[in-house]
């Protein structure tokens, strides 16, 4: 395989880790929505850390190798192309939304940990935090932006 093919492999690996990590986080988050016991919620939110590792690694791979690909690809792509700039901006937006959602989830984890230590009884406050519409909108909004980036990468409008 030539340099371009290898760069594409690493870029696509990044995309798989990024979107796959999002799918892992979504599956575990949806499972937590149906739970009441703090220890169960704590366990499921704890497993989401695996997704965070995949998303972080995926973002780095997709970004670094994506930029390299623009230079290396034999199709006269430019860093000034609209689709490249849009993908870069959307990646920042996705990370900002995901990061903000993650911060709110961390507060939920801290509350769940306190409740586990004090008897593991279901709590309306924890339930409200798990179902918090702002946290859910931030996290799932981030996922939708990632899907939009995938669409942008496939269609490359203006290329």
């Amino acid at each position: 395989m030539n340099t371009y093919q290898w760069l594409l492999v690493f870029h696509v690996t990044g995309a798989f880790l990024l979107l796959g990590g999002g799918a892992i986080a979504a599956a575990l988050n949806l499972s937590a929505l149906g739970r009441e016991r703090p220890s169960e919620i704590l366990l499921l939110y704890g497993l989401i850390r695996v997704a965070v590792v995949a998303i972080t690694a995926g973002t780095l791979l997709a970004f670094v190798f994506g930029l390299w690909l623009v230079h290396e690809a034999p199709f006269n792509y430019s860093y000034g192309d609209g689709w490249v700039i849009a993908a870069f901006v959307l990646l920042i937006v996705a990370n900002a939304l995901g990061g903000a959602g993650g911060k709110r989830d961390q507060a939920t984890v801290n509350l769940a940990r306190e409740l586990v230590a004090s008897g593991d009884a279901p709590s309306p406050e924890l339930r409200a935090r798990v179902h918090d519409p702002v946290s859910l909108a931030l996290s799932y909004g981030s996922g939708l932006v990632l899907i939009a980036i995938l669409a942008l990468m496939i269609w490359k409008p203006g290329a």
């Binding site: 093919q5 696509v12 979107l19 739970r35 169960e40 695996v50 995949a54």
Partner: protein, 141 residues
Amino acid sequence: MRPDSWNLPLFLHILGATVLFGTVATVAIAGFASRNHAGYEQLLARVAGRTFLFGVIPSFILMRAGAQWIVGKEFPGDAKTPGWIDVGFIVSEPGALLLLITGILIWVSARRGRLMLAVPVLAGIYVVALGVAWVAMSGKP
């Protein structure tokens, strides 16, 4: 550069494949976690079961249908397909059997209230197979 008419099937194929990767990985994560979290086996078996039903199956269908759609456009009729496409078929078809066995084992495990070790092991093998497929599909060696 590929023709515009290939974009939608390619998008659906990749979207399905990435979600498939994530949801199968979730089954593996839940399965391995159930070995280390006594008292939560039933919860994690339910997580694996629901993820399989509502995540793995639909995303496999999306991935496979998207693949068939784009192969039909790129290699119409009896045109010979290159090796990197054959790798995809090798992963998706015997892979479907592997997923079917995994699904049956999840169902049996959920009834017992504890995920069998074979569930995360098979899910892990499928995750690795998907990795091989995306390297072949993207690198096109």
